[in-house]
């Protein structure tokens, strides 16, 4: 459905007259989202997840690499021709409050894209009104209640559903959900996740799920793939359950180990590595001591001299079921295991 090869993006921060600082946000990311499939990206803050999501949704351009939608390379198209393609990819914003215009009612928010859609498809005008209700029903909302209201009159979960419903007005084929549940109350979070899963199953929409909370990635669909990004590079990639239960890259292991254990319900995994601190010194991108070496080397408890010289690439060395970018892949069970209840 949508795929990317070698996506690279470097931000240039203006630092006055003299120095323009370069921030590599993505360093050659390859990915593919099959039709109706689910792909999750996880990684810590600033690793480039949002940037990738925005590139996929056409809100940002990449420096090099290629996005292909339905095997059509986007770089080959003019800006104008590209738009209809990107309209099939809809981004769902992390913050459901800022994603809805506070000055417009839900009805207005849905009517605008629906009107556009009506014009495009040549449907009768009345279609739009019915469609709005239909879509709200689809995301589990009562149209009569929601339509005339302003965003601030709805709860976070409801807002996020509205955002999803709005994305669905243009009949997208891919939903890019960037931290779509992290601002939602815990008790409602699963509802949104279930909705996304449901949309996959019922409408065949593919989901590109971006999160720093590995656990939620599971709920989009067990058949999905999980990509672990570190500083703009995919370091591990494979089926969700495999990567969670048997991670091989030390970074993945650190990430999974960092997840709090529900003591009482779970006990910590036996090989839980003490999570590597996000370097006391500054943000992640500051500590690039090994220009050619493994990006993770400075924080890696298992690094060898080779790691500092050479940068590993994504592959299946060591016969793991998932792809990884590590010279020393070793599966460790770091994830908590449920205690059997009395």
């Amino acid at each position: 459905m949508i795929s990317g090869t070698g996506i690279t993006k470097t931000f240039r921060q203006r630092g006055g007259v003299l120095g323009a600082r370069e921030v590599p946000a993505l360093r050659g990311v390859d990915f593919a989202v099959p039709k109706g499939g689910a792909v999750s990206f996880i990684g810590e803050s600033g690793c480039g997840k949002t940037t990738l999501g925005r590139i996929v949704a056409g809100l940002e351009t990449c420096d090099s690499g290629e996005i292909a939608i339905d095997d059509v390379a986007m770089s080959s198209l003019s800006h104008r021709r590209r738009q209809p393609y990107f309209r099939r990819v809809q981004l769902i914003h992390q913050d459901p409050y800022s994603a809805l215009n506070p000055t417009r009612t839900i009805h207005q928010a849905l009517a605008a894209p629906l009107a556009l859609r009506t014009r495009q498809t040549g449907r009768p005008r009345s279609w739009a009104d019915g469609r709005a209700g239909e879509l709200l029903g689809l995301v589990g909302l009562d149209p009569g209640y929601v339509l005339p209201r302003y965003p601030h009159q709805l709860s976070g979960g409801m807002r996020q559903r509205v955002v999803i419903a709005r994305a669905l007005t243009v009949d997208p084929e891919v939903l890019v959900a960037d931290e779509a549940v992290s601002m939602i109350d815990v008790s409602l979070r699963l509802g949104i996740l279930a909705l996304l899963k449901d949309l996959r199953e019922r409408l065949g929409v593919s989901v590109l799920f971006i999160t720093h909370d590995v656990a939620t990635a599971r709920y989009i669909g067990t058949d999905g793939e999980l990509y672990v990004i570190y500083r703009g590079q995919v370091v591990e990639r494979g089926p969700v359950e495999t990567v969670i239960s048997a991670p091989v890259h030390p970074y993945t292991q650190a990430l999974l180990s960092a997840i709090p254990v529900l003591h009482g319900l779970e006990s910590p995994g036996d090989q839980r590595v003490v999570p590597v601190e996000a370097s006391g010194e500054a943000s992640v991108e500051a500590s690039g001591e090994h220009p050619d070496g493994c990006l993770f080397a400075s924080r890696c408890p298992f690094r060898t001299e080779r790691c500092e010289r050479e940068r590993p690439t994504l592959g299946r060395d060591g016969g793991t079921p998932q792809e990884h970018a590590c010279f020393h892949p070793e599966r460790r069970s770091v994830v908590a295991v449920p205690v059997s209840r009395r």
Binding site: R14, G15, G16, V17, L18
Partner: protein, 335 residues
Amino acid sequence: MAVLLRRLAGHVARGFVMILVVTTISFLIIRSVPGDPLAARYQKLVEQGMAPDAAQRAVEALYGFTPKGSLWEQYVDYMGGLAHLDLGQSLSVPGAGVSTVLFSAAKWTVIPVLAGTLLSFLAGVVMGVYAAIRRTGVLGDLLAVSGSLLHGVPQYVLALLLGAIFTTLVPILPAGGTADIMIDPGFTADYVGSLVQHATLPVVTYALAGYGGWILAMKSSVVTVLGDDFILAAELRGMKRSIIFRYVARNAILPLFTILALSLGLLFGGAIFIERIFNYPGLGLMLIDSVNNRDYSLMGGAFLLITAAVVVANIAADLLYTVIDPRVRSGEEAA
């Protein structure tokens, strides 16, 4: 430091271009002013009883002081002069250099304007803090509304009212001038007192007119800062009130510096009214005079001076900002 210098260089370059452009624009506008200064002079002489042909000849003597040549030549001439910091000769006061006239007028504007601004800034900032702290109370409301009103009331209205009160109804302040001529100038109590006495009305008007704006700006700034978490955090750490007050004040005043710089330009505009009403011989009065006399070079000089003052004030504000705000200093907010 390097950041400071870099910013300074950028500002100066930009300010220079700005002054150049503004000078050019004002040159064009000023030179397109219709009305013949010599004709007016001629009429005046005739009306004073001079014979028409003699008046004609007397006016011709003045002709030497009017700019000649095509507009472009005049422009090149003018800019050439500017490059040598020569603003030309005044047309209405033959023999006096524009810079002389300008600076002798400027001191009567700059000092009262600065004094008034400073006064209003201080008073406005203090009352603004108070209005912010008491914003839910009646007093805070009152302060805010009175601020808005004062802010909204035109300066000349204030000046007229003050003038009507203090020079006509209760004549305790002089109606014009800079100092009593009978007192020997010098750094004596008498002379300084007289200066102060004469400057009181203009300064108070500037201060009153500015006060409303400052109290509003400061109030909203303080309210913003009070809502910032670090203030609550400081409170929860048991910081002394005085220290918290300083935290609030410093953070809240910061955005006001830019406004301060910009307001200087506006104040020079207001000087026109205030000086006219109080017969206070500063730049504003000089500008009116120069327009009436079609003294092109003086008008141009006045524009240049005001523009330069605004540009410099902006630069100063920005540098001050840089010094005070570490975020800017480290070049984080290079926008």
